[in-house]
Amino acid sequence: MTDHPHQLYAIEFTEAEQVRLVGFSCGDEPWSKHVTEWILGSDVLESMKRGTRVWLFETAQAEIVGFGSVGTSVWQWPPPKGERTTIVLIPMLGIDARFRGQPPDPDWRYSRQLMSHLIAEAQRVAREWSGDAEKKPSWLVLMVHQDNARAIHFYEQCGFELIPDVLRRQDHKVMKLWIGD
């Protein structure tokens, strides 16, 4: 069986893959520049040391369309030493500006394929949770710059909801998606 021509493929990212990213750019907006910088610089490697999984997504012709990541983090509430909640998070994802809105067929839109993969992998983290059952993560969260309306709209289409009244580092909103039972 032949795959659909717009099928994307996931490649587990390693440091050696960084050379394949020559020319990769998520765009010139301030919130896009740091996405590019994250995957090309040392931040991605730092994140992987904390257990984050990172994938490159490529077309059948091995063109790199984008990347995405899934990790976990333990957050506390209430302070100072409150209950610890494990959160599955998407530390960073990005699509090369050349592939934005591509292909026109919404069912095969690269952004959608990419997010579909990340949600599935996040659900896997929750499903295969081996720690304390009560601490099993049930939320997937991501952070988005408050001015990045296009991204917020896209995440909402995928099912994410903005957490009201929360701004991280002055200008980043946090969005949540239920991945529990």
């Binding site: 587990e12 957050w75 506390q76 579909s116 993969h117 289409q157 994410f160 991280r168 991945i179």
Partner: protein, 232 residues
């Protein structure tokens, strides 16, 4: 930025040097050549790859004689492109590439620029300022209150400095922060992402409320499905 992050065994250091050498060389190639070169290299066995990387170190060594360099290049071409094309040439003119097509090719220059991340630019600028002002790593570390290995890590691009570190470095070197990191906002956003992942982050009340309210679970509106995987 612990000292233990620094590679100290000579083998690791040598391997890192070789990879840096390989990257530098690939960046001097015209884009199509680089693509074919990388494709061919990726298909090779580990053993061949190691040989190629070793030969590249020979090619890039300033003490290598022109004859040795030519021989090393031919051996690389042989290893990567064993089948000569219809003109009797190996698939890639490595010697011409080596001549530095970057200077003559504006689109390549742009591409190389893109690969130069802000972090790379920062490391380069920091090095230049330190050289111009004759300030050692140890002295700079002393001025900003960090360890010498931390400075070394930044210069070698093993870790990105936080925005506040960039500001301190700029002050210690008596230059503008944007002289070291032109887009300082980018550093700020990367700090935000790094902190997002930090364990033991203390949630605000609003976050805690939102995450403890399980009465209205908003499930995915798109089908969740892992993509087929590929290996390189």
């Amino acid at each position: 930025m612990a000292d233990t992050l620094l590679p100290d065994d000579p083998q690791t250091v040598q391997r890192l040097d070789s990879v840096a050498c390989l990257l530098e060389w690939m960046r001097s190639m015209p884009a199509p050549t680089r693509k074919r070169f990388f494709g061919a290299l990726a298909e090779c066995s580990d053993a061949i790859q190691q040989v190629v990387v070793r030969l590249i170190v020979v090619v890039k060594n300033p003490n290598t004689t022109p004859v040795e360099r030519q021989r090393a290049l031919m051996t690389i071409a042989d290893a990567l492109f064993p089948i000569a094309d219809e003109n009797g040439e190996y698939g890639l003119d490595l010697v011409t590439s080596e001549a530095g097509a970057a200077a003559e090719n504006p689109s390549l220059a742009r591409e190389v620029q893109k690969m130069d991340t802000q972090e790379a630019t920062f490391a380069q600028r920091l090095r230049e300022v330190m050289e111009a002002k004759r300030i050692s790593q140890l002295e700079l570390a002393d001025r900003v209150g960090c360890s010498q290995p931390a400075i070394s890590q930044m210069l070698n691009r093993n870790c990105r400095p936080q925005k506040k570190t960039i500001l301190k470095l700029a002050e210690a070197l008596n230059v503008q922060a944007c002289d070291l990191w032109p887009d300082i906002d980018v550093a700020e956003m990367l700090d935000a992402v790094a902190s997002f992942q930090q364990d033991d982050y203390v949630m605000t009340d609003a976050e805690a409320r939102a995450l403890s309210d399980t009465s209205r679970p908003n499930r995915p509106k798109i089908q969740a499905k892992s993509l087929p995987t590929r290996r390189r």
